[in-house]
């Protein structure tokens, strides 16, 4: 294991974030603030509390999830897609390191960045509403697991994508709907029964539910079920990445 190589990839990926600091951090913070103003304050004041939690508070965990999901996918996919696109990936591929080390560097950096953004958004939200975290350890566990697994998903996407269009289409057509239909802005109980059943197939629901439970002890599904789902999602991503590396998928000719 070459820690120096891993930390080099990590460091330069974080440096890239730093270079594009404004779009990396400012835009998720800005859009989250807008959600607060519109949903939390303007509309939220007319919506009654859900299971005893005011609407402004209720959407906080969902908004954080929304941001870190999109950010993880965007960062990790771009991080590996771009060198693949320019051809600069040749250097990483010819370096004396294993695929696992490459993964650790790229996904580690993307996940760290998402985690930082998650914390920043939480802090920003705290300016609008007074947030209490009932189970901080659970909260961090969900946050970290989500950052890692969706960064892995982004990495897979970046390896798979052959062009910029493919790189953008997946987040747009698949991830955004999943996130919006995953109980980010509502409780599943508020949906008609048929939609409640359909929603149960959406993995994002389990993330949002578990994460929300760690704040307010209010959830759509049991917290252990949430944990099981995120862990299986993580395991699936790891299996796919392992297969990709084993076969040199789209990296090695």
């Amino acid at each position: 294991m070459s820690f120096r190589a891993v930390s080099t990839i990590y460091k330069y990926e974080m440096l890239r974030t730093w270079r594009t600091l404004f779009q990396s951090v400012a835009s998720p913070v800005l859009s989250t603030s807008l959600y607060f103003v519109v949903f939390g304050t303007a509309i939220g004041s007319r919506i009654q509390a859900i299971e005893g939690v005011s609407y402004g508070l209720f959407i906080v965990p969902g908004l954080i999830m929304l941001a870190i999901l999109t950010q993880s996918i965007a960062n990790a996919s771009f991080g590996i897609f771009f060198p693949k696109f320019t051809g600069a990936i040749y250097e990483v591929m010819s370096a004396p390191i294993s695929f696992f080390e490459i993964l650790l560097g790229y996904v580690g950096a993307a996940a760290s960045k998402s985690f930082i953004i998650g914390i920043i958004i939480l802090t920003t939200a705290n300016l609008f509403v007074d947030i209490q975290v009932a189970h901080p350890i659970w909260m961090l566990t969900f946050l970290i697991l989500t950052c890692i697994s969706f960064s892995l998903l982004g990495f897979i996407l970046g390896l798979w994508a052959k062009n910029f269009e493919q790189l953008q289409i997946v987040p747009l057509l698949i991830v955004t709907p999943l996130v919006f239909l995953g109980g980010t802005f509502y409780s599943v109980n508020m949906l008609p029964p048929i939609w409640q059943t359909i929603t149960l197939f959406n993995p994002v629901l389990y993330l949002v539910s578990g994460f929300r439970w760690s704040f307010f002890e209010v959830s759509d599904v049991h917290v252990w079920l949430s944990l099981a789902v995120i862990l299986s999602f993580l395991a699936t991503c790891i299996a796919i990445v392992w297969w990709m590396f084993k076969t040199g998928y789209r990296l090695k000719k």
């Binding site: 070459s2 080099t8 330069y12 060198p83 040749y90 010819s94 004396p96 090695k252 000719k253």
Partner: protein, 308 residues
């Protein structure tokens, strides 16, 4: 001299069925400059990419300093620096960050003086804080060399190092290559330019359609395969070649004042002595005489034609 890279029966068939390497075997000697010469699509880049781990071989094996490129890839790759054919750089990083990244990626601890000296040697030092996209094509080529050398490799692969580089820079590049060789680095380069191989290589390998046609010491190659020409200039032009000289297959120039004789330097006798004698006997008077060695280019064209 001992072998640093040993390639045995290496073949590569790409996913689309194209055979880019066909049973290539080659031993590269420690400390030499080997030029791989071949037309477009010959398989030069594929060969280099396979050794460097970018292409997986279909069959055959390669060892680098005794380490198998697949089983002991870490030890093998540590020794190698690669300068790719294309200008593949991430545009928005600074030059300094780019080479610092390369060094770290290969597991070497930071060494600012070494990297600074490297940039100075490549006349890039004053550009070190610029972003890559602000550099010219020739500078980018040198940045790629700096990246490859950043981890102090024992072996350097240069895939067409002087493509798109002006004459002055090309000469500089050759100087760099010689300096590296003097420092003990083994260098493998590919080129389309025969003069380049002729100017800097110790050995030349000719590759076409995935087959390694030959590998020879450059000087030997020139001697062994090089036909020589003897050009005889006559004081008075003639219209026909005299009967007595018919067996020499001479070529008469249009103006009728030059006779060209092709001979093989490796043959038992060149036939020059008797030729000259018979020329005199035929009553021709000689004004001047010169011999010409075929260039590597002629040899190369012959070989490639033979193989097609």
């Amino acid at each position: 001299m001992d072998t640093i890279i040993s390639i045995s029966n290496l073949s590569k068939v790409y996913a689309n069925g194209h055979q880019a390497l066909d049973d290539v075997s080659l031993d590269i000697k420690r400390g030499e400059i080997l030029a791989l010469l071949g037309p477009n699509g010959a398989g030069k880049t594929t060969l280099i990419s396979t050794i460097c781990g970018l292409v997986s071989p279909t069959s055959g094996s390669v060892t680098v300093n005794g380490f198998d490129i697949e089983e002991d890839y870490r030890q093998a790759r540590e020794l190698i620096g690669l300068v790719p054919q294309e200008l593949t750089l991430s545009a928005f990083e600074s030059l300094w960050h780019t080479i610092d990244f390369s060094r770290g990626l290969f597991g070497k601890p930071a060494d600012v003086p070494y990297l600074e000296q490297l940039l100075k040697d490549l006349s890039l030092f004053d550009k070190k804080d610029q972003e890559i996209h602000m550099l010219s094509g020739g500078m980018k080529r040198r940045v790629l060399i700096a990246k490859a050398l950043s981890h102090e490799p024992m072996i350097l692969f240069l895939d067409e190092p002087t493509a798109g580089v002006d004459v002055g820079l090309r000469k500089d590049m050759w100087k760099i290559v010689h300096k590296l060789r003097d420092a003990g680095v083994t260098i493998i380069l590919t080129t389309h330019y025969i003069e380049e191989a002729e100017a800097i290589a110790d050995r030349v390998g000719v590759i076409n359609k995935g087959k390694l046609l030959l590998v020879e010491d450059k000087d030997n190659l020139m001697q062994k395969l090089g036909k020589k020409q003897l050009i005889i200039e006559l004081s008075e032009a003639i219209r026909v070649i005299p009967e007595s000289l018919a067996s020499y297959a001479l070529v008469l120039s249009k103006a009728g004042n030059k006779l060209t004789y092709h001979y093989d330097t490796t043959a038992d006798g060149t036939g020059i002595t008797t030729l000259l004698q018979r020329t005199r006997e035929a009553g021709l008077s000689l004004k001047d005489m010169q011999t010409k060695q075929s260039s590597l280019e002629d040899i190369f064209v012959d070989l490639v034609e033979e193989s097609t």
